[in-house]
Symmetry: C2
Subunit: 385 residues, 2 copies
């Protein structure tokens, strides 16, 4: 058995946990280089010891003393802070799982891309806010980029062995979120508690609200546009409440290939870990007879304008997706804090995009600048409201 | 544009017509070598002239004078009879569409396989009755065999780029036929007229009855066993009345790839013609939102014992599938002639399989022998009944 080296950026999050669960099942197959966390020092130290990692890093430097103490007596190096995070990501590894949430994940993800191994990407901002910069780095360094997101991983699988030139369309499936059957009036009165109850996936509050507004699907559309450059006019969305079909690719001959599976992130992660081969997961076999039916409907962009706004941002290109993403984060936080009603999230995002139209960022530093400025604009709009 | 040469065995049937419809849309791309028919001389001559075929062959020698007359003045060679059919199939062609129905298609299909080009297989008997012999010839001659049947073509597409060793299961979808919701009592009284009304595909009487008994799906199981040797225990059947999902492959990581498309044979034929690339077809894009729902249920082997019998025949191997196929043909003819009730078809097949257990055929001649003997046994059972 060939040993492969792996780094996990964001080891204590849900993607990290799923990844470690999979490699735990293949003893002797994996050599762990770096494990990182934000500030969960005790948990990170426990994992680093279990997997004999070379280095464990906390992004928040104030947590470094706790990490040092927890790793005392081991041969595992402990480090802390943004610089240490980038250094750890730059260590050679056959595959890096880039699963740090938010803009904090951008610099280490870029370091992993520049390092030259395969990068399995689970950080949304990398493609939404910094798509052009990241894809250019991937191209320059000859990095293999594998998508971890279940939808994009499905598309990646459906494209295997096919020439993208033969693609007629790519369809992202969307659960439609907890409000898919709500009227505009009901949506206007939706509460944070209602928004964070997602029907199929167990997720955090921010992403649950994104699922309810369908900004989540819109952001995935922007990601798909970077990962699979077949043209925005060929990218579709269909609402599929059961979340069994994860996405589809239709070819010019009328063949549609779809990837189906359980709502378990270990499936797409395993697909990345073993690619181009396959590895076992403990997921139950798909039983369509037990499921009985799969349903589909067109998305309603009147009630859920998010996908329309994301498509506009992708079409505009440049800084627009980063502005949209920053404005959405501010708006979602305001909604969760009870400051604005649910239906105002999209309105605020659109207003920020209209108000702030900076030139296209050409570096990560410029992406951060756009992100910061866009948040300031969004907050101003909040105060005006 | 590279020109490719093609022969179509069974040019006047529905697979032949669909193939010609596709190559007609790519003028200058295809050079037609041989076109064959059973006895439709006028139609064959018209097609041979339109596509400037090298040779046109009628299997029934008594139709040769009519063919000669219809081709008079052209540079197209006319021929007739079983030997001429094999000779035509043996002419070098980049791809041969083997679409002659029944045991009559075996020898020319074998000739096409031995010729060494790609063979797109639409003749069921080739794999059901002569599977071992055909697959051995494919192996020996290094022939690329592409399945035309929509289910097997779907599986082939879902396997692209993947190692069969990673397959957890292969699931053939079945419409369930016109009687899928009928009780055992209703089935016992089913008439030929009711049996030949297929819900999704426009087919001939024999294959429509096979769809109603589910022998069609069972025969496809036997074919799949030869085409995709992952083990019979990994081959499944699921009833899917809408016939949109044509078949599926599940991998060890829990990913299931499915191929979806319209009920139009031009899709799988185009997939064979262009493989490993893709070509345009005039089929409408898949619109799942318009379809609304796809449903699935487990097959009921109490009411429809055919799939169980076919699985038994595949497990037994050797001559058993040829015996089953021959007995089924006799039984279906007897049902269509009003001689036996619908529910007796499977009973007769099982009885023939019990009664006649010859050694495994090792040549086409021996396959024909088994087929003839099995028919005689089945007819005797008919008279006993």
């Amino acid at each position: 058995m060939t040993t492969r080296s792996i780094s996990i950026l964001g080891a204590t999050g849900s993607i990290g946990a799923s990844t470690l669960d999979l490699i735990r099942r293949e003893p002797g197959k994996w050599r762990v280089v770096a494990l990182t966390a934000n500030c969960q020092a005790a948990e990170l130290a426990r994992l680093a010891r279990e997997f004999s990692a070379e280095v464990a890093v906390v992004a928040d430097e104030s947590c470094l003393p706790e990490l040092r103490e927890a790793l005392a007596g081991s041969r595992i190096a402990a480090a802390g802070g943004a610089g240490a995070l980038v250094e750890a990501a730059a260590r050679p590894a056959d595959i890096t799982i880039a699963a740090i949430v938010g803009c904090a994940g951008l610099a280490p993800t870029m370091a992993a891309i520049e390092q030259g191994g395969t990068v399995a990407l689970a950080n949304k901002e990398a493609l939404v806010s910094a798509g052009d910069v990241m894809i250019e780095a991937v191209r320059r360094h000859g990095t293999t980029l594998l998508p971890v997101d279940s939808e994009h991983n499905a598309i990646f699988q459906c494209l295997a062995g096919n020439d993208p030139a033969h693609v007629r369309s790519i369809t992202l499936t969307a659960s439609g979120g907890p409000f898919r059957d709500w009227s505009a009036e009901q949506l206007a009165a939706a509460t944070p508690a209602q928004a964070i109850r997602h029907p199929n996936w167990d997720m955090g509050a921010k992403i649950s609200v994104d699922s309810a507004t369908m900004f989540n699907k819109g952001l995935e559309l922007i990601e798909a546009h970077h990962l699979f450059p077949v043209g925005l006019d060929k990218l579709r969305i269909v609402v599929h409440p059961q979340s069994v079909v994860h996405s589809m690719v239709e070819y010019r001959d009328g063949s549609t290939l779809a990837q189906l599976g359980p709502s378990d992130m270990r499936v797409p992660i395993a697909s990345c870990l073993a690619w181009p081969a396959r590895m076992d997961t403990p997921c139950d076999p798909l039983d369509l007879a037990a499921l009985g039916e799969l349903t589909f409907r067109a998305p309603d962009e009147q009630r859920f304008p998010a996908t329309r706004l994301c498509r506009q941002a992708a079409e505009a290109g440049g800084a627009a997706p980063a502005v949209l993403n920053a404005a959405n984060e501010v708006a979602v936080a305001a909604f969760l804090a009870g400051q604005i009603p649910f239906s105002r999230i999209a309105v605020m995002v659109e207003a920020t995009m209209t108000r702030y139209t900076p030139p296209a960022p050409t570096s990560l530093a410029e992406v951060f600048g756009v992100d910061t400025e866009a948040r300031a604009h969004a907050r101003e709009l909040l105060e005006l409201a």
